[in-house]
């Protein structure tokens, strides 16, 4: 649901974005780099949500437009390096235009249908473009990709983009612009029709519109914004390589948007921030982080289709009900056993990963501040026991949680 936004929210967002790189903990180059990555991912995710959340189009190849936008931007940056008098801050426009052009070209053929067929076609096109990129080194730069400099350019207002802080502000500014535009798009006739096509493409025909045309338009626009994100990617890393168009990147943005929550505009941003953070920091703690990510994703698909944003709105709504106390009590009971079960599962996973992927690191490791030896049976047994007991207890206690939520739902529904 795209709620009607008030100008105050946008102002607040702008202030937040301006202030973030000065927050303690994020003031380092690492922190600002993280924020920059989040910003780029947020634009990419927002563009993807135009397709998935707003129009019901599941694409497995959206990275094509991100990547092609990135490559075109990289070449544009090289032209600037060679003397073209355009400020670096405008490079993403080239990316957006490239994304738009390719979106129109591929979209004309691929948006005839929705649903599973669209998903498969997007998969095929994605693989095709990725394969092509490895075969045409003059444009795609072969294995090393295309490099460009973001400092060798005109410096209006003294901005030379040498520092990560300046790069962040360009990304943040474009994020604000892109979010504003995409949000506004959803409040136009075509935007509303996108939602209608998502809900019932057949009925859309009977009110006089061709659902294919609607899909084509939103597809092209989503591709443009993906290209915009690709352009920022080019500026941030000063290199664009084949992974930018890969199936992995397409899968990544899908995960971001779905985990964040497809039903809300903020969901995409939330998911982008969360997954980017996980990718950057969780991978430092554990080699099993992809497994955790996959399990999180499956959990969201199966149990929390509204994603993180959905969880937030659900809980905010529950605050106004009398069932809140019951929910809190149920959580209080379930949380300890859930933690126990998780501790058991995580331990099993970690020691298994250590054994299979890092045999050279030896069998001794420290988990949850407890030293253990993976060669001995006791860590395995203890972890399995924790998991079994915790899971059994959780299964017993879960009905309490769902009952509490059911009564909250009834209360809210009754008012609706």
């Amino acid at each position: 649901m795209i709620a009607r936004a008030r100008p105050a929210w946008w102002l607040g967002a702008a202030v937040l974005l301006a202030v973030l790189p000065w927050v303690p903990g994020l003031q380092s180059d690492f922190g600002r780099s993280l924020l920059s990555q989040m910003g780029i991912a947020a634009i990419f995710a927002l563009s993807y949500n135009l397709l998935l959340g707003q129009t019901g189009l599941l694409s497995f190849g959206h990275a094509v437009y991100f990547g092609l936008g990135g490559y075109v931007s990289a070449h544009f940056m090289r032209a600037i390096n060679a003397g073209l008098p355009v400020p670096i801050a405008l490079v993403p426009v080239a990316g957006a235009l490239a994304g738009l052009a390719f979106g129109i070209a591929f979209g004309a053929l691929t948006t005839r249908r929705g649903g599973t067929i669209f998903a498969l076609i997007s998969l095929g096109v994605g693989e095709l473009v990725h394969a092509t990129s490895l075969m045409l080194p003059s444009f795609f730069g072969g294995e090393e990709g295309v490099t460009a400099s973001r400092t060798k350019a005109p410096h209006p207002l003294g901005l030379d983009f040498g520092s990560q802080l300046q790069v962040y502000y360009v990304i943040a500014a474009w994020l604000l612009v892109a979010a504003l535009l995409m949000h506004a798009f959803m409040r136009t006739p075509v935007g509303r029709l996108c939602n209608a096509v998502r809900d019932n493409p057949e009925r859309v025909e009977f009110i006089g519109y061709n659902p294919q045309r609607v899909r084509f338009i939103v597809f092209s626009i989503a591709a443009a914004f993906a290209g915009l994100a690709g352009g920022l990617h080019a500026i941030n890393y000063e290199i664009v390589a084949a992974e930018a168009l890969s199936a992995t990147r397409s899968g990544e943005v899908l995960l971001m948007v779905y985990i964040g929550g497809v039903h809300h505009f903020m969901g995409a941003i939330l998911g982008a921030a969360a997954i980017t953070w996980l990718q950057v920091s969780l991978s430092d703690y554990t080699t099993a982080w992809l497994l955790y990510l996959g399990l999180l994703f499956m959990g969201i698909v199966a149990f929390v289709p509204g994603g993180l944003a959905g969880l937030v709105t659900m809980h905010l709504a529950a605050l106004r009900t009398r069932a809140l106390a019951a929910i809190a009590r149920a959580y209080a009971a379930a949380l300890p056993v859930a933690l126990l079960a998780s501790a058991g599962a995580i331990t099993l996973i970690e020691i298994a990963y250590r054994r299979s992927t890092q045999p050279e690191a030896g069998t001794r490791m420290k988990l949850f501040w407890i030293p253990m030896d993976t060669a001995k049976p006791w860590p395995w047994l203890a972890a399995a026991a924790l998991l079994a007991v915790g899971a059994a207890a959780l299964l017993r206690l879960w009905p309490r949680v769902s009952r509490a939520w059911a009564s909250a739902g009834e209360e809210l529904h009754g008012r609706g």
């Binding site: 998903a119 076609i121 394969a131 899908l254 497994l291 698909v301």
Partner: protein, 316 residues
Amino acid sequence: MREIVAFSLLNGAVYGLLLFMLSSGLTLIFSMMGVLNFAHASVFMLGAYFSWQISRWIGFWPALVVAPLLCGLIGAAIERYGLRGVHRQGHVAEILFTFGLAYVIGELVIMGWGRNPIENRVPAVIDFAAFRVFGTSYPFYKVLMTLISVGMFTFLYLAFKRTRVGLVIQAALTHPQMVGALGHDVPRLFVLVFAIGSALAGLAGVIGGFALLTEPNMAAALGPIVFVVVVVGGLGSIPGAFVASMLIGIVQTFAVAVDYSLMDLLRTLGASVPASPFLREVVSVKLAQAAPMIPYLLLVLVLIVRPRGLMGTRET
């Protein structure tokens, strides 16, 4: 020249049969339930890993039976305890669930056996030459593969045409809602179909594990191609899957052997070579380089021109 043609044909046919073994299971699942099972190739991968592990414990021939059974059980569990709750959310959610599952299975394989390929060599019992073609020996395990996939085809044919359950499943392949309306226990059927499909994938994995590299990435490498086969062959059609598998298997194997490019063709025809370096690059791509793209090209073309596929009976 004759050698290349003969070997490409043989190898292409074997590759095609491998694709068929994989895609027959997916056709069942996709056609009957509309679920684009991204985890299908992952179960295939599990079959390869299980067979290696079981072979080490009790030998190859038991593994040939036990590994597919395990995979069938896993498939049944996926449907019964996982997908069943997701069906009511629609096809997109189903696809996403299996997509996540593929991710997770891939990671679990790494957790169990590590990131590197395992030495899944052809077991000694079947590692001998079957016959000789143009002086080079043709391995027996490839013949075994052929036998197994022909066996699969026969089994599926008999099971569908001659048993009651088979008839019901056949009907459900093309008219799933109607079958439910007629009073059949569709959820139980779903579990059965998922189990059979997964067992077939597991069986394909046992054999495919030798033909291909057994590593955690094998599912991601083969998965998309299997989708292509199912789509090109057509929904609801096992014979279609067979035709498409052979087509793609043979064409791709032949293409990989062709070391010529459009540029060479232009030169032989005496036509002029494009001036711009970019275009020149495009036409210099050798067919062998472009071979991996052929299935996807076919996929996109078929979906645009004839979404029903070659022999399909419905579109989704």
